[in-house]
């Protein structure tokens, strides 16, 4: 079981307190109706599947309840860093 550092609680807590939230830094388009079908498909469905550093969202669901972003290595499963939602990608 992973230990995950919640940037709001400032503590490493067990994985069972958290919920995974998919790839990070995919902003919802401000005006979806302006997007072509292909661009909307890109936003909806197309995700990275890197070997190595992966930017992803987590929520401290059974803690403070807040969403944050993380960089995790998909080979080692190790978290490189976690940081609050809204901050630039690390």
């Amino acid at each position: 079981m992973l230990l995950i550092h919640c940037p709001y609680c400032a503590e490493a807590r067990p994985e069972v307190e958290f919920a995974y939230g998919g790839q990070a830094h995919i902003a919802r388009p401000l005006d979806p109706s302006a997007l072509s079908d292909a661009d909307w498909e890109q936003y909806l469905y197309i995700r990275n599947n890197p070997r190595g550093r992966h930017h992803e969202r987590w929520r401290h669901a059974h803690g403070c309840g807040r969403f944050f972003n993380a960089v995790r290595d998909t080979v080692t499963d190790k978290f490189e860093v976690t940081y609050p939602a809204g901050e630039a990608a690390r």
Binding site: D31, S33, F67, T76, D77
Partner: protein
Amino acid sequence: MSGYRLPTGGRVDRAKSVSFSFDGQSYTGLAGDNLASALVANGVTLFGRSFKYHRPRGILGMGSEEPNALVTVDRGPGRTTPNLRAPSVPLHSGLVASSQNRFPSLKFDLGAVNDKLGAFFPAGFYNKTFMWPRSAWEKLYEPAIRQMAGLGDSPTSRDPDHYASTYAHCEVLVVGAGPAGIEAALAAAQSGDRVILVDEQEEIGGGALADPAQWAWLTDARAQLLALSNVQLLERTTAIAHLHQNFVVAVQRLTDHVAPAQAQGAREKLWRIRAARVVLAQGAIERPLVFDGNDVPGVMLASAGRSLALRFGVAPGHAVAVMATHDSGWHDALALAKAGVHIVAIIDVRDDVSSDLLDAAGAAGIAVHLNHAVIGVGGRHAVKSVTIAAAGSSAARTLSCDCLLMAGGWTPTVHLWSHAKGSLRWDADWAAYLPDSIDDNVIAVGGGAGAWNYGSGVAVSNLPSPKPVHQQKAFVDFQNDVKARDIRLAVQEGFRSIEHIKRYTTNGMATDQGKTSNINGLQIASEVLSKPVTAVGLTTFRPPYTPQTFGALMGHHKDALFQPLRRTVIDDWAVANGAVFENVAQWRRARYFPQGSETMDQAVARECLAVRERVGMFDASTLGKIEVVGPDAAEFLNRMYTNPWKSLEPGRCRYGLLLREDGFIVDDGVSARLAPDRFHLTTTTGGAARVLGMMEDYLQTEWSDLDVWLTSTTEQYAVIAVQGPLARAVIAPLVAGIDLSHEAFPHMAVREGTICGVPTRLFRVSFTGELGFEVNVAAEHGLAVWQAIHEAGQAHGIVPYGTETMHVLRAEKGYIIVGQDTDGTLTPDDAGLGWAVGKKKPDFVGKRSLARPDIVGAGRKQLVGLLTKDPQVVLEEGAQIVADPAQPVPMTMLGHVTSSYHSATLGRSIALAMLVDGRAKLGETIYVPMPGGTIAAEVTGMVFLDPKGSRLDA
């Protein structure tokens, strides 16, 4: 007969005899024995039948690597445990054990015919032979294989034991309490760190237990460990998994070592240990040698022979031969000779064994055959002799003996290291993989790190033999019956990766995970492929290290503790009034309230008619509820839901439809605006947490500029639905501060006042199509208000109704249930809810997807009603729909029935269904093929009762 108790020696207590039974026969062992040592002491060599060929098998090893001697231990009804390794079963008075995989008896086994047909059971046999025909597989092959092959039988009755679990934290966790692990624990303890030392055996000591010279040290070290307050010693505890960041899972066996009558408390305990540092001291496992007849009972690892003699005081045989490719076999032979065991000869493939060993053997009077190998074993149920020959020579000679020890070198136990994603490096001297590097704070010590001096040796894939490999019964994986020839065949047939060879031959795939077979299999594959071992690869070790009981993994999570059961505040009343319950999203809900001997159908019919004709009451407390507060609350809901919310006036309600961004319905519910900045949302019972999470996601990550607060209030309110033409008359005497008249309080409105003197949010809403109210009161008043309404309703013939009646009533009106009538692929239009989509809204979650080409195109499934031609036939929910029942199988399926009931009000069956282009098929006949015959039905609209909705305005 092989085996007997030596007159002296061992750690057994010779003053305490222990009686036990094996395959129905009584035996006597000694305190300190395990099942294997006690049976060998009694001359038992035959422990089981092998998996595929049903070959007779004895013990191979004396530790958790044992592949052959799998037994079932019977501790009483529901307490049989199959597939236990005999050397890992501690002996206690009254132990009842039996062998497995034999029919009718261990000595005479019909399945052994498979062994004679061995040539027809090559690698990949299952894949090759049983591919065709399919019907024969189902009717013939599979049942036959299940009868003949396989391991022990699972118990079929409930396990009466209970299992505990705990978390633990420490600075240093040491896995394995051999000399290296004990030294590591003692050293770590000096610093004051919290230390946990786990060991899987009955007593700590590891290899030292079979070395009397170390016993005095061991006794002292154990006393030291027990005296240290910062050391926790967990004996009989197997570390089964080493997961991320030094999270180690271990199972402690608490009662299996004592007689069932003496067992107290939990049977096993699961430890979840988080350690700052892990020291792996798992030791090494001796490697068998591969030669013709290496599985005859009495052929075992030299380390097993040593353990039997020096730890348990049991000779492995009366006349013992030793086949070595490694010095450790010589040391074992000399130790056994010193303990009084007759050593017939040491055979070694090498011709350059050290003079020290040769001198010692000479001094002990042991015959030595260098540059020789065992090429055959006499005996079937027990070793009678071995045949040896010099390398390259066909001149054989036979040595009479009843036991053959194999010393093929050592394989460090790197399982947990691999679990933790540590890398390995091939070490040519060891002919084994050793721990290399690892990210976490883990070190490997002792034999498991290659840091143990067992002497030197050579690695041999097959012992040299004049017999071709394909004629040898030379086993690599004893538990899965994989021979050297199978691995050669797999390579010949084109398999190159060890991962593929493993799966094709099943080498290393049995319950022992190849503890004794992986490296031998790898060496053979490497030789046949003419590639270095490192180029062939290594299969991955996965948890658990040894098989475990499901009980240990489940712990307390069974029966009432399997998952939380949520009960409403009205639950006690429902129990007292005879409700039949169903569980919905962890809530226990009253399904119906049978009277007398009513069936469900009768009760539901009565409850439905009461609501339609008079009035009913329903506990709707499980509805998800979210309080949405803040100046931007209306803006927020406007973006989340398909409907317009900003125009909703305080005091009014609206049916809200929630989509995902892909445009598909995820939830719905009626919500009320209480004030400009305050909404009372409801969600489906099962969707409450999901909807709150989804809303929090948007609020926190997309629209953090909105000033809105979300609070779950599901459990804060009890909700009582009062439905039916007399609903107003029932609650009127109880309500104060609210004008209940239709004009002042119309359908889809909300008012705040009191009921029975307590504050209420009173909704005028209906999920039945009747005049209806939903009374929201603080949960602590829920039961009292429910009882008051029930009392007041008596004069009006009120009946309580349950979820089944609720389902029928709403289906009569064509109201959908998200998750039953939708499946995550329905848009609002598909569900006939296009009216709930705000056409003028520029955006809401999912809006853009509703314009995707595959959403607006024809051919989508749409919700419709179905009326069976025979009104008494009730369709089965989930049944498939076709246009032409005469078409050949497989038929083109057009959709399925989502809801189906008998409607007492309508006197016939009704159904809802998802149907391709359903709304274009109104009036058409479709067919539902069922095992009992095809059912014809007409496609209709979804509303079966009061399509104008006039009953709502009563």
